[in-house]
């Protein structure tokens, strides 16, 4: 008799994403396994399988002989309907066992608008949503990832959070769990012991108190819990785990290529960028290691594309020698090498031409702001001259299309800054007219604007978001200023970004809102097909919470911040100094020009920042 899952599969889109069985997936004998982990990604297979962090930790966990880590993704809407209609609980891809049978349920959370998927996946698994309702040692739910630097909106649902890079701490957490399970501890004993692992934050060990004005006024650690929990980093990044024998999906995913992580951290310090501060300090891999990893991964996967992964490719000191050696390997094998997030400097221009020998990729810039004054205020150290010179070189080399990314609503932004975007675009068009060598297809400039979202652990963490109506006004102002047929303008709708702002800087009281929103049908919020703003607005109303209290709120310098129990290594004093610099439109040099004492180097006890 055909199983229920297989009977459902003919009725859903892209069934291959629900069955596993890909090349290099890991299957273990249950009899040899002491701890089973369901590693959940709160979005679809195509998104989750593109996530490097998940691939690393899948390898790290499965390297342990008595641990079996399997993958779980959010089902698309058609599959969810079938599952609900047939009472089929959510399953893990490797064993097809239901998630409820697992010891540990781990999530990696990189985006605020996936919170509804987390609750939905727990509900589809038949697991109680609230940590307090899960009383046993089975189904311990924890999470890591960028969003867990302010995990408070999710505090009701998770037993603990693993902060920072998980290569080492995940192994230590699994050691504690293995002991707990073997010795039959109760859940509180397990959590107390897990909290001793550096980087583990147990939200139930902290009481959040609110004042009569509704603001958070005090965070009280209970039972001797540490006042601060500091994120973990990998000390020896060069020799840390790299998934060279990685799962090769049998169906198309978003980033269908080998990912080579060249360094962690960022020397730049763009003031809006959470990753730029949270992933410090800067730690590179050596060229030898990277070339070896690239060859191993390409040979094992059969991929025909490899991309360098980091926050700012151009800042890798050995980029010239690295790309030379990679091209030596890739070019004769017709493997495409792509170099994202290049800066618009001289060196990168030469590199761009060199890499083009395999395949010509698009030209993309993220100036983020339209005027030099605002770029200085956000510390985005790219000049108009650099952009125009790079465009000129590219147009001369036969390129004819450019993509530009900007943000609207950045702190201190005026209409002049908004119109500055259009000015820059027209200057690029002028450069094309003067310098282009290939005019047949005309020049195509795509401009995209996103709505600025203030994030924790950035110099703008204290700042309010502008109202959605004001964002829309600025967006229309810009649209009217760009009337050339060569320009294609796309903008993000403000509603999603408004919710993102609420959740990014939210506190524990938002747990009820998320739960209510999911009850109202919120899911797959990052997908236009499913995003339902009204489901969220009704949830805020039902809970008596005003989203503007979070999105529109400007924190004072000494306000209690919901995320202040957590440290990413960068000091609050440094962030505040950067905040003040922004309002003076003063730039801060990058880490290599001068160390500004952010504090992240103190995490790096076994090495020195790559200055």
């Amino acid at each position: 008799m055909t199983s229920l899952i297989e009977r459902i599969l003919p009725n859903v889109q892209k069934p291959a994403r629900y069955v596993g069985g890909e090349y290099n997936q890991i299957v273990k004998n249950k009899a040899d396994v002491a701890v089973r982990v369901a590693f959940c990604f709160p979005d679809t297979y195509e998104i989750g399988m593109s996530n490097l962090g998940m691939r690393i930790l899948y390898g790290v966990m499965n390297r342990i002989p008595d641990v079996w880590c399997e993958r779980v993704f959010a089902p698309w809407g058609d599959m969810e309907e079938e599952m609900r209609a047939h009472h089929l609980p959510l399953w893990a891809l490797e064993s097809h066992d239901s998630v409820k049978e697992f010891d540990l349920i781990a999530f990696t959370i990189g985006y605020e608008m996936s919170y509804s998927n987390i609750l939905n996946m727990l509900a589809l698994s038949g697991i109680p949503l609230h940590a307090s309702e899960r009383t046993g040692l089975e189904n311990i739910v924890f999470a890591g990832g960028a969003c867990t630097y302010n995990p408070e909106p999710l505090a009701d649902f998770f037993d603990f959070f693993s902060l920072g890079e998980g290569e080492d701490s995940t192994v230590e957490i699994l050691d504690v769990y293995r002991r707990a399970k073997a010795e039959g501890w109760d859940k509180p004993s397990f959590l107390r012991e897990a909290a001793k692992v550096p980087g583990v934050y147990v939200p139930s060990f902290y009481e959040h108190r609110y004042g009569p004005d509704g603001k958070l006024c005090e965070i009280v650690p209970l039972d001797g819990a540490p006042a601060t929990v500091t994120k973990r980093i990998v000390q020896d990044f060069d020799s840390s785990f790299y998934p060279a024998r990685d799962i090769v999906p049998s169906t198309e995913i978003v980033h269908d290529r080998t990912n080579l992580e060249i360094f962690r951290g960022c020397i730049r310090g763009c003031r809006f960028c959470q990753a730029g501060f949270c992933y410090r300090p800067v730690r590179p891999r050596s060229v030898d290691t990277l070339v070896r990893q690239a060859e191993e991964a390409l040979e094992d996967s059969g991929n025909h594309e490899i991309t360098l992964s980091s926050l700012s490719t151009s800042d890798y000191k050995q980029l010239g020698p690295l790309t030379d050696r990679l091209l030596d390997y890739c070019a004769p094998r017709k493997i495409n090498l792509s170099l994202p997030s290049l800066r618009a400097d001289n060196f990168s221009r030469e590199l761009m031409m060199k890499v083009q020998t395999v395949r010509k990729s698009g030209l993309t810039f993220a100036p983020e702001a339209g005027t030099q004054r605002l770029r200085d205020a956000i510390n985005k150290n790219v000049t108009e001259e650099e952009i125009l010179t790079t465009c000129a070189t590219a147009f001369e080399g036969g390129w004819s299309s450019v993509k530009l990314y900007f943000m609207l609503g950045l702190p201190t932004e005026t209409d002049e800054d908004v119109l500055g975007i259009a000015d820059l675009v027209y200057k690029i068009l002028k450069v094309w007219r003067e310098r282009a060598t290939s005019r047949k297809r005309g020049c195509r400039i795509s401009v995209a604007t996103a709505f600025f979202v203030p994030k924790p652990f950035t110099p703008f963490q204290w700042e309010a978001q502008i109202p959605p109506e004001e964002y829309t006004r600025r967006q229309q102002l810009l649209r009217e200023a760009m009337y050339s047929k060569s320009v294609e303008y796309k903008w993000h709708e403000p509603h999603l970004s408004r919710l993102e702002a609420v959740l990014a800087r939210g506190d524990r009281r938002l747990g009820a809102v998320i739960e209510q929103a999911v009850g109202n049908g919120a899911k797959l919020d990052a997908w236009d097909e499913y995003f339902d703003y009204s489901a969220w607005l009704r949830a805020f109303e039902a809970c008596g919470i005003d989203p503007d209290f979070y999105a529109r709120r400007e924190f004072a310098k000494d306000d209690v911040l919901p995320w202040q129990t957590i440290s990413v290594g960068v000091s609050r004093g440094f962030l505040w100094r950067e905040h003040e610099q922004a309002f003076r439109s003063a730039v801060t040099p990058d880490c290599r020009t001068q160390c500004m004492g952010c504090g992240a180097n103190e995490l790096y006890t076994e090495g020195e920042c790559d200055e």
């Binding site: 008799m1 055909t2 009977r7 599969l9 003919p10 892209k14 069934p15 291959a16 629900y18 069955v19 596993g20 069985g21 890909e22 090349y23 997936q25 090769v248 049998s250 169906t251 198309e252 040979e299 094992d300 996967s301 059969g302 991929n303 025909h304 094998r333 017709k334 395949r359």
Partner: protein, 219 residues
């Protein structure tokens, strides 16, 4: 041009045709067997699959044509090399040079399993055989311009119905493969349409053999 014979089973049946082309291209690379590519700005590999299977259908007789650069002399060792590089459910059975012209592939031998969770209704195999061996069987067939009414009976070359156990009916059918093509899943669809009391709880299909016009095995 060389050809491999492969089977699609288990989890592999859910891999779509386009995805399977990519799976094979990667598997050839992994196995150290470089495919010949077209010249030009966006080179693509010389691989093609004969008569792509619908998603969800198993098969033990799939054919893939390919060209290697440089050509591989030891084709006998190729199935093992590829199988080490293929995902679960996609399994290479043989490799050989040349092969017959695709247009000579005319017929599909398929097995269709009808599952009845509450037991096979009495007399169902006989009613199904009578229906599908009758003079005409008109069903709705998907086409580019929406559904059209089609008589599938002329496309069924032979049909045998059996009941291996109390919950299963098996249709053993030979149907047209090209010009026109009959999707074998239209047979259980016809059962549901004309014999609603005999509608199965679930049906699935497995391609058993590809044949030429005279019923000889096509390779």
């Amino acid at each position: 041009m060389s050809r491999i014979l492969f089977e699609k089973a288990g989890n592999g049946i859910w891999i779509s045709h386009l995805d399977l082309m990519r799976v094979f291209q990667r598997a050839f690379r992994r196995a150290g067997l470089p495919l010949k590519h077209t010249q030009g700005f966006n080179p693509h590999a010389f691989v093609s699959i004969v008569l792509p299977l619908p998603v969800g259908t198993a098969s033990r007789c799939e054919l893939l044509d390919f060209e290697l650069d440089p050509p591989e002399t030891d084709l006998a060792a190729l199935p093992d090399r590829l199988n080490r590089a293929l995902p679960e459910g996609i399994h290479c059975l043989a490799a050989y040079d040349g092969g017959r012209k695709i247009r000579e592939l005319c017929l599909l031998h398929t097995g269709i399993t009808l599952e009845y969770d509450a037991g096979v209704p009495g007399g169902a195999p006989e009613r199904i055989a009578a229906l599908l061996n009758g003079s005409s069987v008109v069903v709705e067939k998907k086409s580019k311009n929406g559904p059209v009414e089609t008589d599938i009976r002329p496309m069924i070359r032979s049909l045998a119905v059996s009941q291996p156990d109390g919950n299963t009916v098996v249709l053993d059918a030979v149907v047209c493969a090209q010009n026109p093509t009959l999707n074998p899943m239209l047979l259980p669809a016809a059962v549901a349409l004309y014999l609603s009391a005999d509608t199965p709880s679930f049906s699935s299909c497995r391609r058993l053999e590809v044949l030429d016009d005279s019923g000889q095995i096509f390779r």
